[in-house]
């Protein structure tokens, strides 16, 4: 009969260690662990080591020997206590999965009681944890070494930030090392089951590079592909901007009781879209920068040219986004052009409303950047009726990093929206045969 592996909480682990070693130097995160929420009963307040060992079904020696990732089996400690204080912030703890019990994720009592883990899973898992723990420690030692290198370079120039280093060669060297550090910190935690569990339960703390990495990978797998596919199929590119390579996840929703982050290209009711949309910007990077959001409708009929023109609906600029806080604060940002609710004319077909996300240069406030001798006509830049998004982008020196899209057509609510916002009487278009030759 196989033994059924389960979880033990960090708190109980800490108490175990406190009981076993008087000088415990391993930091623990204050946040409740994955196991705590699953089964509060699993928290063992018992400090008597042998009692716990008996409950688990192993010897007390085994319990103290495992897992102590800072001390490899039969060797000197890889990380000293002094060093541990520094990388504590970047060390999400290894979950100690020791207590044997039925899996808490199975909600049905019947399944939980009849469930059997595969034979040999527990033993192999313990050995695997030991190996991965050792590997993680070596990676953190490398991180510390590299960090001290960067610190030495910074101290040499007497600065605190890498981008303040005046010497180009030294700065690029410091940047390269920092990239390496980021990579090592991701690799060190990528095999940690605790990390995966936290991430999949939506508890990711974006200050850790590994969570940012996982979030990016998850976004790249389907949502980004879907976005790009819709933008291409619905000809948002090149009808508005010529091309895109999205690096930032932009989410859009309209406030209300049933608000949801809709997927790009959805046809919405004009009543829903009459409200100012809410945004979320996931940069997957630990940096602070400013963004501009522009909403355009490229499907406004242009009879004079027998074509279509773009209408500007919204410009929100100077959106400050910190790496781990994705929500857009509209009040803290600048509304350059207030939101115009979509109100398609009858018989003018389905209108696309393209949301473009631009990164402002060098994290500065939105300002016109004069380049070359050609003068920019400021009056036409923000013209609602004849808006040129490409001109706007180049005038302000912006960089397109994300996009989104929704669609509207004339529906039963459109007249109400017109009335509510005072948009005047609509026109009804109809087709007419024209002699071409």
């Amino acid at each position: 009969m196989p033994r059924l592996p389960g979880f033990v909480s960090q708190a109980s682990r800490a108490s175990l260690r406190a009981a076993s070693t008087a000088t415990s130097s391993i930091p623990h995160s204050a946040s409740p662990s994955f196991a705590d929420e699953l089964d509060p009963k699993s928290i063992l307040a018992d400090k008597d080591l042998s009692t716990i060992a008996r409950a688990i079904g192993c010897s007390a020696d085994d319990l103290t020997a495992f897992p102590n990732p800072t001390v490899p089996a039969g060797g000197e400690p890889l990380i000293t206590a002094r060093q541990l204080t520094m990388p504590a912030a970047m060390r999400p703890p290894f979950l100690d999965w020791r207590v044997q019990m039925k899996p808490a994720s199975l909600k049905s009592k019947k399944f939980r009681n009849t469930y059997l883990s595969p034979i040999g899973l527990d033993g192999a898992f313990r050995e695997a944890l030991e190996i991965l723990g050792k590997d993680r420690d070596t990676k953190y030692v490398q991180v510390l070494k590299l960090q001290s290198k960067v610190d030495a370079i910074k101290a040499q120039f007497g600065v605190l930030e890498t981008n303040e280093i005046t010497d180009i060669k030294a700065r690029s060297e410091a940047y390269l090392i920092e990239v390496k550090i980021e990579k090592l910190r991701i690799l060190a935690e990528l095999s940690n089951p605790e990390v995966i569990a936290q991430f999949e339960r939506g508890r990711a703390d974006m200050q850790f590079p590994v969570y940012r990495y996982l979030a990016r990978k998850k976004w790249e797998q389907i949502p980004r592909a879907q976005l790009v596919d819709r933008l291409e199929n619905m000809h948002v590119i090149p009808d508005t901007m010529p091309y895109i390579k999205p690096t930032v996840d932009l989410r859009v929703r309209f406030p209300g009781p049933t608000a949801y982050w809709f997927d790009p290209g959805r046809i919405l009711s004009t009543a829903v879209t009459a409200q100012v949309p809410e945004f979320q910007i996931n940069t997957f990077e630990d940096k602070t920068s400013r963004y501009t959001i522009v909403i355009v409708d490229p499907d406004t009929p242009d009879f004079a040219n027998d074509s279509y023109k773009s209408t500007l609906h919204y410009i929100l600029s100077d959106i400050e986004i910190h790496g781990n806080k994705p929500d857009v604060d509209t009040e803290a940002s600048t509304v350059v052009v207030p939101y115009l609710p979509p109100h398609p004319e009858k018989n003018s077909g389905i209108h696309r409303y393209a949301v473009w996300l631009f990164e402002q240069p060098d994290g500065e406030r939105l300002a016109i950047r004069q380049r070359g001798s050609k003068e920019i006509d400021n009056s036409k830049l923000l013209d609602r009726d004849e808006f040129d998004i490409r001109l706007f982008r180049s005038a302000y020196g912006l960089k397109a990093v994300g996009a989104h899209l929704w669609r509207n057509k004339y529906d039963s609510q459109t007249e109400a929206v017109r009335e509510k916002f005072g948009l005047g009487q609509g026109t009804v278009w109809s087709r007419a045969r024209i002699q071409h030759y």
């Binding site: 059997l116 595969p118 034979i119 040999g120 899973l121 033993g123 192999a124 313990r126 050995e127 695997a128 030991e130 190996i131």
Partner: protein
């Protein structure tokens, strides 16, 4: 290095192949020598780590769980005596259980119990063939005694032969000799092995191409400035290395790569280690 000059001086002959050194006058020469890295390949598979043992156990249990039901109706055809014997020894499962099919619970692995083989155990040969196999232990007496001269030690590792030859300062090294006239690397090393260790070794010279080069510079003045040694690689499969009387071999040892590091001179080890296999 000092030791090689001393140890190899005995076999140096007047008509040895020699070349001039690059250092110019006074014209001194480097002796060209051939050597052999004689090794015994592993006889048993490498020792497994605790993790790989646990991993293979887990994987094989999963494999059994996912394996198909044993088709007993093919191996024990219906109506035969064999079928009776087979069904008799099987654990009986509840056939009304919908999870059970062909006497196998489809939620777990199947443990097939095979009936004892109906073999006439009269002859001595059949008794020997069908006797239960008892595997030999992976460690031998030579391992327990740590007999470094035995070829039966460390069966899962490659063992390398090093020798210690007569001279004032005794140092361990791979066997080497001076190339005599009319010889090439291959023939001189074959000759040397027979000279040093006797004829009764089943040896295979992997190639006439040298696998390792070592340049030895003599410290004291002499006829030669030093020696250039080219080592060939060879394997031993049977027989023993028995030091011959006139060869001047004082001691010899069969060692693994990491053991060699403590026996060989540091500088020599640094140059030589790259040509050896860890396992």
């Amino acid at each position: 290095m000092f030791f090689l000059r001393r140890s190899l001086a005995t076999s140096a002959t007047a008509d040895a192949l020699a070349i001039e050194s690059d250092s110019g006058s006074p014209a001194k020469e480097f002796k060209i020598m051939s050597g052999v890295i004689l090794s015994r390949p592993p006889i048993i598979t490498p020792e497994q780590t605790a993790f790989s043992k646990a991993y293979y156990h887990y994987q094989s249990e999963l494999y059994k769980r996912m394996s198909w039901t044993f088709p007993y109706w093919f191996y024990y055809p219906k109506g035969t005596l064999a079928e009776n014997e087979y069904t008799r020894v099987q654990p009986k499962l509840n056939e009304k259980d919908p999870d059970v099919l062909f006497n196998r619970d489809r939620n777990s692995k199947q443990d097939v119990v095979f009936p004892p083989r109906s073999v006439q155990r009269e002859t001595e040969e059949s008794a020997r063939i069908y006797a239960k196999i008892v595997p030999n232990p992976r460690t031998t007496i030579a391992d327990e005694e740590n007999n470094i001269r035995s070829l039966e030690r460390k069966l899962d590792r490659t063992l390398y032969l090093i020798v210690k030859r007569d001279g004032e300062s005794l140092e361990w090294s791979f066997p080497a000799t001076t190339i005599e006239s009319g010889e090439n690397l291959e023939s001189s090393s074959t000759r040397m092995l027979a000279q040093y260790g006797g004829e009764d070794m089943n040896i295979f010279l992997v190639s006439g191409t040298p696998a390792l080069y070592y340049k030895d510079v003599y410290e004291s003045d002499g006829k030669y400035e030093g020696a250039k040694i080219f080592y060939l690689k060879s394997r031993i499969f049977n027989g023993l290395f028995k030091p011959q009387k006139e060869s001047g071999i004082v001691d010899y040892a069969w060692l693994t790569k990491e053991e060699l590091s403590s026996y060989l001179d540091k500088q020599y080890w640094r140059k030589v280690a790259g040509a050896l296999s860890k396992q």
